[in-house]
């Protein structure tokens, strides 16, 4: 009995120290959030399903990551593809709220506005696009078409 007690007295600090050391470290990925069930931030986000744009998926992705301009651009383009101009315009405006300096967004919004008959708005967007992308042929073209009254 005394021998057992003596052995325990000698070994417990070593055993407890081993427990301290081995359980001290944590694998960081265990703490990583599993927020996204779908991936919305890469080429595998599946914006297209069998050639058709998956609007539902894009809308869900935009809900998950509302600051992702590229997602918003894809969604706006998808709305354009289904002739939902009002939604496309609103989407591009949302994207511009995130990045007001994006010349391609101004160009896309201007094109929609021109299509919807807002020539002044289209011209303004063309000017904003030119401010960030001087000499851009596409922006100059939009500006000219808006000035000339062409609707597309």
């Amino acid at each position: 009995m005394n021998a057992l007690r003596r052995t325990l007295n000698v070994t417990w600090p070593i055993l407890l120290l081993a427990a301290f050391v081995t359980t001290f470290r944590r694998v960081p990925t265990e703490a990583a959030s599993a927020a996204e069930a779908i991936n919305c931030d890469g080429p595998s986000r599946g914006s297209q399903t069998e050639g058709a744009v998956d609007l539902t998926m894009l809308e869900r992705c935009v809900t998950l990551d509302p600051g992702n301009v590229e997602l918003l651009v894809d969604l706006g383009a998808a709305y354009e593809g289904s002739s939902r101009w009002d939604l496309a315009e609103a989407t591009y405006r949302r994207a511009l709220a995130v990045d007001p300096r994006d010349s391609t967004l101004h160009l896309r919004l201007g094109t929609i506005l021109l299509r919807r008959g807002d020539r002044a708005g289209a011209q303004k967007e063309a000017q904003l696009a030119l401010q960030w992308h001087p000499n851009s042929a596409a922006a100059l073209d939009l500006d000219a078409r808006a000035a000339a009254g062409a609707d597309r």
Partner: protein, 851 residues
């Protein structure tokens, strides 16, 4: 009463101080030698003379040696006159006086360079302190010791945990006010403080268990107390070696058997020095009729001795101030928090030693059972164990995203992980423990091994390779503008008026910005000069190596300049000297100056003279890498009276202000001499810098927004500007400068994929949307840290294999970005992208990744 110098020099306290100075000198010399031996540390710190004090130490080291040696000699007089340890002392004096005399003629520290000599001298420099420890142990009789009472050790550990926690947490409100980028609510701060307390308790209970394990092992021996003491000393030596290997060597990419041997040698030397000081500081109580001191009290003697409780208490009370001053002294020069972490370990050791000394050891009051290491001493460590794991459980549960995942992805303040990360920036003790807690899953370990295989690739593994944007490259058909490239080392974009409306101290650069093109989303590919500069000259990402074999063959900028007969006016720093040959086309500025002495003001002064003398028919190319803003230079700058920079780090802002004046003067010179409208003038930086964001300073391994974002302002002659299109809001890299110069000279540089630069200027019909959508690889110049930059530079995802963590940032706005929660999907996607791009980089450059 006459002052008796001999008696004074024989006092143990005086001898201990001289031994300490002796140890510091030789440890410093040894550390310098090992740093010189490490190719990485040599290339990054020693060759460019980043720390001038180190160079001064090297230049004067042989004289310091003699001062230390002669002072030590005085303390050895009793031994030399025939006392105990006589032959060891005679040996010490003989050997080191001869070596010291040789050193006067051939100073060893000046001669070592980067080679095996550094390693050998590093080991040799550790011999004198160990030798002195042997002399002192022979000269001073060993104390009669008694075994350490576990109860006293336990109480000391508990108290030390509390003192260590207070030492660092007491300064957190102050640090919170000083550190930018940290937002902590009162609730968040309370949780962080409680977490810190639990972690400190856990660490000091682990220390108690280590001490208890030593006591229990020693109990198997007949001379229990002496064995205990030497096991404590061995524990210190082993811990020191481990810390040096795992923390210090890893931080400077010094790995392998030689790093392990250097760490082990330093561990042995430090243990010997500590034992020497312990022997000297515990001397006054000897000889005693019965053992008065326990083994741990003698071990703790170097800090507060064994005589006075008051002295020990004073040390304990001073500890918060000491810790604060130490952190403050090293933080600006720190390398990835390394120095701060080392000061924490020193403070912990000092705290424990002082607390143990402060708890009086009254032998009479100790019961016989007090010596017995019973189970009851396991209760407190077990409570600490339970508390720690309860904290871990809460921490893990708190990291799971709330019901609204979009909110979780955007608002980092909701995540306990981010709260604790932010707290770590203001509590170095918590930071140290947090980093030590990180373990890796097998998947992550495999991934890190992959990253390491692509990092700091051996020079010999990289074949020379021809890289061309245009082949064959003939002289440009159009008019050739002069080209001036100012790459200001470490200059941040938000310290320049064109990028930050709050900046009022760069009026000339502000005016230059109004006349030029200000690229809004400019980044560097590399977080350090060593690879950022080669990537600018090559117009591409580089093989991750400290040396670039036959760089001329991939130097696309040099090829462009030579094809068009440009006169190169450059200052030659420690990096560019290896990349660009000295030939008749080169006019060197700042001759005879070291890299860190390059000052934009003197450079442009000399440049104006050279331009005046130059052949006007020949186009001129300027390259300069001024160091005014580099943290090691700027932080030493005294802000002139009358200048104030609220909201900015004043020494850096003041340096930028000085640059502004001289740069503006140069622009005026170009205008005065009618050169401005025939000049492409580029103002940029190789990388940014951390100036206290989340406690970070300078730039090291880490990839963070404020280091990766750079200013890029380009002035074009009006005749060029009207012919090209450029998207100022699209993502641009410093590696795009060279292909852009090709485009400006009328070439059509080949498109070679995302690892190469792309011209920022193109024909009016050019589309820039692809730039915004591509993911780009970023890398640290100095360690295994990689990142992806996506969404037109708004999202930065970092895999930091040095710190063992992944970080994500949203850098949508103009500020330094905001941390966002790392999600599993993000991790998978971005790690895959980095893997693909590194594989492609190795494939393109034909080097085999080496494990």
């Amino acid at each position: 009463m006459r002052f008796n110098a001999e008696a004074w020099l024989a006092k143990p306290g005086v001898v201990a101080v001289i031994r300490l100075l002796h140890a510091l000198f030789f440890l410093g010399a040894s550390a310098y030698c090992f740093l010189s031996y490490s190719p990485f540390a040599y290339a990054q710190f020693i060759k460019p003379n980043v720390v001038p004090a180190l160079t001064e130490f090297v230049m004067l080291s042989q004289w310091y040696f003699w001062v230390i040696f002669l002072t030590t000699l005085l303390t050895l007089m009793p031994q030399l006159r025939g006392g105990r340890g006589r032959w060891a002392a005679i040996g010490y004096v003989s050997v080191w006086s001869i070596l010291g005399a040789i050193a006067l003629f051939k100073p060893p520290l000046r001669a070592i360079g980067n080679g095996p000599l550094g390693f050998a001298f590093g080991l040799i420099a550790l011999v004198p302190p160990v030798w002195l420890a042997v002399i002192d142990h022979r000269a001073q009789p060993a104390a009669a010791l008694r075994s350490t009472a576990p109860s006293r050790a336990l109480k000391a550990c508990l108290l030390a945990a509390a003192v260590a926690w207070v030492t660092y947490s007491i300064a957190t409100p102050l640090r919170l006010g000083q550190t930018s980028g940290i937002e902590l609510t009162r609730g968040g701060l309370t949780i962080a403080l409680a977490s810190s307390m639990i972690l400190d308790l856990y660490c000091f209970m682990a220390l108690f268990l280590a001490l208890a394990a030593v006591i229990s092992l020693a109990s198997l021996s007949r001379s229990q107390a002496a064995v205990e003491y030497w096991l404590f000393v061995s524990l210190l030596g082993a811990s020191t070696a481990l810390v040096l290997y795992l923390l210090v060597c890893a931080a400077i990419t010094f790995t392998g058997w030689d790093a392990a041997a250097a760490s082990a040698a330093l561990g042995v030397a430090l243990a010997a020095i500590w034992a020497d000081l312990a022997r000297l500081r515990s001397k006054p109580l000897f000889p005693a009729p019965s053992p008065q001191l326990d083994s741990l009290a003698v071990f703790c003697a170097p800090i507060a001795g064994v005589k006075s409780r008051r002295a020990a208490l004073a040390v304990v009370l001073l500890m918060p101030a000491v810790a604060y001053v130490l952190i403050d002294a090293v933080s600006h020069f720190d390398w990835n928090f390394l120095l701060q972490k080392l000061t924490v370990l020193i403070v912990w050791l000092a705290t424990f030693s002082a607390v143990y000394a402060a708890r009086s050891a009254n032998v009479d009051r100790l019961s016989a059972s007090g010596w017995n290491l019973g189970w009851r001493f396991s209760v407190v460590p077990m409570v600490a164990f339970v508390l720690y794991h309860a904290f871990v459980s809460v921490e893990a549960r708190g990291s799971v995203a709330p019901t609204d995942p979009a909110r979780a992805a955007r608002d980092a303040r909701l995540s306990p992980r981010v709260v604790l990360d932010r707290y770590a920036a203001i509590d170095p003790s918590f930071h140290l423990i947090r980093d030590a807690r990180k373990a890796r899953s097998s998947e992550t370990a495999e991934y890190y091994a992959f990253l390491r295989a692509h990092t700091l690739v051996p020079f010999a593994d990289i074949p020379a390779l021809d890289v061309d944007f245009v082949k064959p490259l003939r002289p440009a058909a159009q008019r050739k503008p002069d080209i001036y490239i100012f790459i200001v080392d470490s200059m941040r974009r938000d310290y320049l008026a064109p990028y930050n409306a709050k900046v009022t101290f760069t009026p000339a650069i502000g005016q230059f910005g109004r006349e030029s093109l200000v690229f809004d989303r400019a980044f560097t590919r590399y977080a350090g000069t060593a690879l950022a500069v080669p990537s600018i000259w090559a117009g591409a990402m580089m093989p991750h190596s400290l040396e670039q074999p036959e760089f001329g063959r991939r130097n696309t900028l040099l090829k462009l300049l030579d094809a068009n007969h440009y006169l190169r006016v450059m200052n030659i720093d420690h990096i560019i000297g290896d990349l660009v040959p000295a030939d008749p086309n080169l006019v060197q500025l700042d001759k005879g100056k070291g890299t860190m002495q390059f000052d934009v003001c003197t450079t442009v002064g000399e440049l104006e003279t050279k331009l005046t003398e130059a052949d006007p028919s020949r186009p001129v190319f300027l390259y300069t890498l001024p160091q005014n803003v580099h943290i090691s230079i700027a932080s030493r700058r005294k802000v002139p009276d009358g200048e104030s920079y609220p909201g900015f780090f004043a020494p850096v802002a003041s340096s930028v202000h000085r640059i502004d004046g001289c740069f503006g003067g140069f622009i005026d010179f170009l205008k005065r001499t009618n050169r401005y409208d025939n000049s492409v003038v580029i103002l940029t930086s190789d990388h940014g810098d951390s100036l206290g964001e989340e406690g970070r300073w300078g730039h090291a391994h880490f990839i963070v927004p404020e280091v990766m974002r750079i200013p890029l302002i380009v002035h074009l002659p009006s005749w060029l500007r009207s012919h090209v299109s450029y998207d100022l809001s699209a993502l641009t890299f410093s590696a795009d400068i060279t292909p852009s110069l090709y485009a400006l000279l009328g070439y059509e540089p080949a498109t070679r994929g995302s690892l190469f630069g792309h011209p920022a200027f193109g024909p009016p019909a050019a589309d820039s949307e692809w730039r915004r959508r591509m993911p780009y690889l970023l890398a640290s110049s100095y360690g295994t840290v990689y990142a992806t930059l996506r969404q037109n530079g708004r999202r930065l995802y970092v895999v930091d294999a040095v710190d063992g963590r992944d970080n994500a940032f949203d850098i949508s706005d103009d500020a330094v970005g905001e941390r966002v929660e790392v999600t599993q999907a993000m991790t998978a996607e971005n790690r895959l992208l980095i893997r693909e791009q590194l594989t492609e980089l190795a494939r393109q450059n034909h080097y085999p990744p080496r494990p």
